[in-house]
């Protein structure tokens, strides 16, 4: 029997910093090396934490909340939120009570009602992009769409989209290049502005009673037999924002980078838009934005490695989804891939509550983009810039429209 390894074992150490955007371009090589050499690795960053990279290990962690708690999903521990983000940083049984209230707000049927509105928002952005042949796809589309959809969903003013974009950029990215303390300060300040905006939306609804309005439903919401506090409502709204913006933005941009670089696949999609559903799933598998953490609540052995209570473990979904033991030719995009049980939206109790909305946004965006602008390419003189963090994304994506490589 091989000896149990632990945080001090030399051959499972791996210098990995989830907030180092310089690591973004080689991220998949890094994860592949970790899966091969040390699938449960220890990194010295942020006081030392674990990184699990195999599909099966990540899946087991997600489905075992007693040992792997969600009470702190960030490394370092805060992105500026005041108290736990609800319900993503809540464990069972309380988690289930919150989800019972929130699930219907994002149900597939409720989301389907938004389809015409989302399609109009998508086409409005495409109209603007088609006015010139060079755009920054992040600025012109990927960043705009999810924030406008979020505001449309909430029934808030769509003109506030740019304010939300700025706040969420600061909260997710902190201050690139700054110290950890300075980044936390920037995040906290932006989060405070977000809370103030939400509080205003809550105050605006005093005395009204719109049964369809999400803010109102939350204000009237209950936790067992008591009303939700304003603190809870604010932290639920905060999570909607964090969960809904950079995630979809990254997914849109990563997909467009791939399609610009792979014209055969792009043409396959553009000439047969019935492939869009499976293409969306495949691109979610191929580039999965989210990399949450779990807090270890009791000593446990994972993949032959001893984890201790109080440790934190990072679980990059995108590494799970590139695991060759789970997916044949995992590094190859097959937009008709079957089967494709990817975990881009997580698994277990915390399965992304916004997944049905995200899929709808992605499906409509890729249908309309490839119907209306089937040819586009990267600008060789101005390549895309990616960022890491626990939500991987793209900062800048210069695109030439109407040309193909």
């Amino acid at each position: 029997m091989t000896e149990l390894r632990d945080a001090a074992t030399a051959d499972i150490q791996y210098d990995f910093d989830i907030h180092d955007s310089n690591a973004a371009d080689d991220l998949f090589e890094t994860y592949a090396e970790m899966r091969n050499r040390c699938p449960v690795a220890h990194t010295p960053h942020y006081g030392g934490h674990w990184v699990a990279t195999k599909y099966d290990d990540i899946h087991d962690i997600l489905r075992n909340p007693t040992v792997f708690s969600s009470e702190s999903v960030n490394i370092p521990g805060t992105i500026g939120q005041d108290g736990p983000m609800i319900p993503i940083e809540v464990d069972p049984p309380d988690h289930g009570i919150y989800r019972k209230l929130i699930n219907p707000l994002f149900s597939p049927k409720r989301m389907a009602d938004l389809e015409p509105q989302i399609r109009a928002l998508v086409n409005e952005l495409i109209d603007q992009m088609l006015e010139s042949n060079r755009v920054d796809f992040v600025e012109a589309f990927a960043r705009e769409l999810p924030s406008r959809v979020f505001l449309a969903l909430m029934g808030w003013d769509i003109a506030d989209a740019s304010r939300f974009n700025e706040w969420v950029d600061l909260i997710v990215l902190g201050k690139p290049g700054a110290s950890e303390e300075e980044a936390t300060e920037v995040r906290t300040a932006a989060a405070m502005e977000v809370y103030a905006y939400f509080a205003e939306m809550i105050d605006d609804r005093a005395g009204s009673d719109d049964a369809e309005d999400i803010t109102q439903i939350l204000i009237n919401g209950t936790f067992e037999d008591r009303e939700l506090t304003q603190f809870e409502v604010l932290n639920i709204l905060f999570l909607f924002l964090i969960g809904g913006l950079h995630t979809v933005q990254g997914q849109l941009a990563h997909t467009v980078i791939f399609m610009a670089e792979n014209p055969i696949v792009r043409k396959q999609l553009a000439t047969d838009l019935s492939l869009v559903d499976s293409a969306v799933e495949e691109m979610l598998r191929w580039e999965s934005a989210i990399c949450p953490a779990r807090l270890v609540k009791e000593d446990v052995v994972l993949g032959g490695v001893q984890l201790r209570a109080g440790d934190k473990v990072l679980i990059p979904f995108t590494s799970a989804n590139r695991d060759e033991e789970k997916f044949d030719n995992a590094d190859t995009v097959d937009i008709a891939r079957e089967p494709n049980p990817h975990i881009a939206f997580g698994a277990g109790n915390h399965r992304c509550v916004g997944s049905h909305l995200a899929r709808l946004e992605l499906r409509i965006a890729f249908e309309e983009l490839h119907r209306r602008m089937p040819a586009y390419r990267l600008d060789p003189a101005d390549p895309p810039v990616r960022h890491l963090s626990q939500i991987k994304g793209v900062v800048k994506l210069p695109l030439i429209i109407g040309e193909s490589i």
């Binding site: 699930n103 219907p104 149900s107 597939p108 049980p341 698994a347 399965r351 997944s355």
Partner: protein, 68 residues
Amino acid sequence: MSDALTAEVDRSACKGHGRCYMTNPEVFDCDDEGFPIVIGVASTAQELSDLERAVNNCPEQAVSALRV
């Protein structure tokens, strides 16, 4: 015995991803929270293959096919 199949969803494993009702609307619908409801059987070749997809695409391995 017919070749038709129906589905069973393990309620404790299912987390409402929706892959089953997305790939196979003949057999699955969803409730107001987004959890699947089994509404039919698969009998044509297409329906049987869609049901197989629903089983294999579930990230929670919560769906199984059963003889009617």
